[in-house]
C-alpha cells in the first residue's frame, strides 16, 4: 500500500478514492503490530475501535459528507489519556485492568475530527521518567537506534510516530515528556501553553505542570492537531478559550533569544554543535539572534522536582484500592492502603511520592516547597523580561544524546538532570516545541523553542523554517 504518511496525504487519498479509511486503518494496525514486536511501543492495540471509526468515516465519504480536519488519520494515544471502552494503564500495574469510562476531551475532539485511534502507547509509569524504562510493561526501544531509549515519558508515542505506525500521537508533557522523546526519536513535539488544551481525562501527575500535546512527523501536522485539541472545556477550570488567528501575526524579522545559561555545563559538545548549526540556519533565513539572560535557570531543575513530587504525593493519594485499580486487602484500613500502594506502584513512583511527602511534611514545607514556588516566580519573571526584547527563545531540548537502555536506571539524579532545559517552560506555563535539528553522534537532536503564553504560532512559523531548510 502507498505511503499514507501525513494528514494532508491521507485527506487527498480519501478524497480521490485512492484508498478507503478502512484500508488505511488496516495498514496502520499492521504497522503497529510490527512496531510493537520490534520496539514495544504500544501497551494495547485497539483494532475493533480503529476499524469501527474507519468504517463510520467511509460511510460519510460514501454519502458525500464533508470530511473533518483529521479524517482517516491513524493516531496513537499515550496510555495516560482515557479512550472510552479501552484499557488505560498509565504504564502502571495499579491500573492494569482499568477500562476508561469516558473519553478525555482531547481524545473526543480528535475523534470528532475523524482521527482513527489505533492504539495506546507505552510510557513511563504515571508519566514519571525520561527514558520509558519506568513502564510496568517493559522499556521501549528507540526506532532510530534500538539499543537506546526513545526518551520519556511519552516514549511509545514518539516511537510510534518515528516508525510510521501513527501519523501523530497525543502525549503529555509535565517537564519535557513530549519534547524530549520527540528530540530523541527525530520527530516534532509540542507542549502547548498551560490552559490551551483541556486536561480532562488525562491521568494526573502534577496538575499545575501537566499539558497534553501532539507528536508528529512535521510541524504542519503538529499545528493541525493543536488547532483541533485546543480550547476551553467546562470539565477543566484551567482551560482557556483559544483562537490561534487572534494571537498575533508572524513577526519579521523573527528575533530569537539565545540564553547563555542553556549552553553551559552539562551540555554534550555534539549536541551543542547541532543546536548552534540550527541557529545559524535560522539566522541565514533572516532571523535575528540575540543574547538573553535567564539568571534563575540554575535553580529550575531543583524547584521543578520539588513542586513535581509534592503535587504527585497529593495527586496519587487517589489510588487507595477502594475506588478503582489494583487492590490488596489487609486487616484494617491502613494496612489495605499501604499494601495496595506498596505493591501497585513501581519504584520511581514510590520514590517521588516519598520525596514529595518529605518536602510537604512539617519542618520542611517552607524550606523546600514554598522556596521552590518562589523560584518558580523568578523563572517566570526571567522569561517575561527576555520576551520584552525577543519573540522566542531557543536552545537544546536535551543536554545529551539518547542514552543506552539501562545506562541511567540506577542513578535517579542523573536521570532528572536530563530534564534541565525542558522544565522551565512547564514552571512558567509557556508553549515550547522540539523540532528535528540534525544528528549528534548519528542520533537525532531537536531544537527547543519557547514562546510567550498563547503564541504557539511563533513556534510553528520558526519550526517550519528550520524543518524546510534541512530537507
Amino acid at each position: 500500500m502507498t505511503n499514507f504518511f501525513g494528514i494532508t496525504r491521507v485527506r487527498e487519498g480519501l478524497l480521490t478514492k485512492e484508498f478507503s479509511a478502512r484500508e488505511i486503518a488496516s495498514e496502520a494496525l499492521r504497522k503497529a503490530g510490527e512496531s510493537n514486536a520490534k520496539y514495544n511501543s504500544y501497551i494495547s492495540i485497539s483494532e475493533e475501535l480503529a476499524l469501527s471509526l474507519a468504517d463510520a468515516l467511509d460511510e460519510k465519504i460514501k454519502k458525500g459528507e464533508h470530511l473533518p480536519a483529521l479524517a482517516g488519520v491513524p493516531v496513537s494515544i499515550k496510555d495516560a489519556l482515557l479512550v472510552k471502552g479501552e484499557r488505560c494503564t498509565a504504564g502502571s500495574l495499579m491500573l492494569e485492568d482499568y477500562t476508561a469510562p469516558y473519553d478525555a476531551t482531547a481524545v473526543a475532539k480528535i475523534k470528532e475530527a475523524g482521527a482513527v485511534i489505533i492504539g495506546k502507547t507505552n510510557m513511563d509509569e504515571f508519566a514519571m521518567g525520561g527514558s520509558n524504562e519506568n513502564s510496568a510493561y517493559g522499556p521501549v526501544k528507540n526506532p532510530r537506534s534500538p539499543e537506546r531509549v526513545p526518551g520519556g515519558s511519552s516514549g511509545g508515542s514518539a516511537a510510534s510516530v518515528a516508525d510510521e505506525s501513527a501519523v501523530f500521537s497525543l502525549g503529555s508533557d509535565t517537564g519535557g515528556s513530549i519534547r524530549q522523546p520527540a528530540s530523541f526519536c527525530g520527530v516534532t513535539g509540542l507542549k502547548p501553553t498551560y490552559g490551551a488544551v483541556s486536561r480532562h481525562g488525562l491521568i494526573a501527575m502534577a496538575s499545575s505542570l501537566d499539558q497534553i500535546g501532539p507528536l508528529a512527523r512535521t510541524v504542519e501536522d503538529a499545528e493541525a492537531v493543536f488547532r483541533v485539541i485546543s480550547g476551553k472545556d467546562e470539565h477543566d477550570a484551567t482551560s482557556m478559550e483559544y483562537n490561534p488567528e487572534e494571537n498575533g501575526q508572524e513577526l519579521k524579522p523573527l528575533r530569537i533569544g539565545v540564553p547563555k545559561e542553556y549552553f553551559g555545563e552539562g551540555l554534550a559538545s555534539a549536541v551543542k554543535k547541532v543546536i548552534e548549526q540550527a541557529l545559524e540556519r535560522l539566522a541565514k533565513s533572516g532571523a535575528v539572534l540575540l543574547e538573553v539572560e535567564l539568571p534563575s535557570t540554575a535553580y529550575a531543575l531543583a524547584a521543578y522536582y520539588m513542586i513535581n513530587t509534592s503535587e504527585i504525593s497529593s495527586n496519587l493519594s487517589r489510588y487507595d484500592g477502594a475506588r478503582y485499580g489494583y487492590s490488596a486487602q489487609g486487616q484494617d484500613l491502613f494496612s489495605s492502603y499501604a499494601a495496595t500502594r506498596g505493591k501497585g506502584f513501581g519504584n520511581e513512583v514510590k520514590r517521588r511520592i516519598i520525596l514529595g511527602t518529605y518536602a510537604l511534611s512539617a519542618g520542611y514545607y517552607d524550606a523546600y516547597y514554598v522556596k521552590a514556588q518562589k523560584i518558580r516566580s523568578l523563572i517566570k519573571r526571567d522569561f517575561d523580561r527576555a520576551f520584552e526584547k525577543v519573540d522566542i527563545i531557543a536552545g537544546p531540548v536535551s543536554p545529551v544524546v539518547p542514552f543506552k537502555i539501562g545506562e541511567k536506571v540506577s542513578d535517579p539524579l542523573a536521570m532528572y538532570l536530563v530534564d534541565m532545559y525542558t522544565v522551565p517552560a512547564n514552571l512558567a506555563g509557556l508553549p515550547a516545541i522540539s523540532v528535528p535539528a540534525g544528528t549528534a553522534e548519528g542520533l537525532p537532536a531537536g531544537l527547543h523553542m519557547i514562546a510567550p503564553a498563547f503564541r504557539e504560532n511563533l513556534l510553528f512559523a520558526a519550526g517550519k523554517i528550520l524543518q524546510n531548510m534541512q530537507y
Binding site: T99, P101, Y102, Y194, G195, S208, E234, A237, T238, M240, S296, Y299, A302, A303, Y305, M306, D320, G321, A322, R323, Y324, Y326, S327, G330, D332, L333, S335, S336, Y337, A338, A339, R341, G342, K343, F345, N347, K350, R351, I353, I354, L355, Y358, S361, A367, Y368, V370, K371, A372, Q373, K374, I375, R376, S377, L378, K380, P412, L413, Y416, G429, A453
Partner: protein
C-alpha cells in the same frame, strides 16, 4: 544523610508499604537527590511571591445545579469491591 527512621516515617505518612531493600535503596537515593536540592538554599527570594500556578485564575465558578451522571454504573463497576451502590472499604473508625 536521611535516616532509615525518616524513610519509614514518610512511608507511613504516604501509606506505602516498603520492603527492607526498598527502604535501604530510598535512603541512599533520596539523600543524593536532597543534597542536590540544597541548591535551592542559595537562591535569593526576598520579597518574591510564591507562584502556585502559571495561569492567573482565581475562583473559577459555575452554577450549582444538579446534573445526571451518565456513567455512574460504569464508574461503580471499576471499584474492586462494592455493596449495592456503595464502595466497600475497611472501617475508618475503631469501635471502643
Amino acid at each position: 544523610m536521611i535516616t532509615r527512621e525518616e524513610v519509614q516515617h514518610i512511608a507511613k505518612l504516604a501509606r506505602l508499604q516498603l520492603t527492607d531493600q526498598e527502604i535501604m535503596a530510598y535512603q541512599k537515593e533520596l539523600s543524593i537527590v536532597l543534597e542536590y536540592f540544597d541548591i535551592l538554599k542559595e537562591a535569593r527570594v526576598e520579597g518574591v511571591v510564591p507562584m502556585t500556578h502559571s495561569v492567573d485564575l482565581a475562583g473559577v465558578t459555575r452554577d450549582d445545579t444538579a446534573k445526571e451522571c451518565e456513567n455512574a454504573d460504569e464508574l461503580l463497576k471499576a471499584a474492586p469491591s462494592t455493596s449495592g451502590r456503595f464502595l466497600r472499604a475497611h472501617s475508618a473508625i475503631q469501635r471502643l
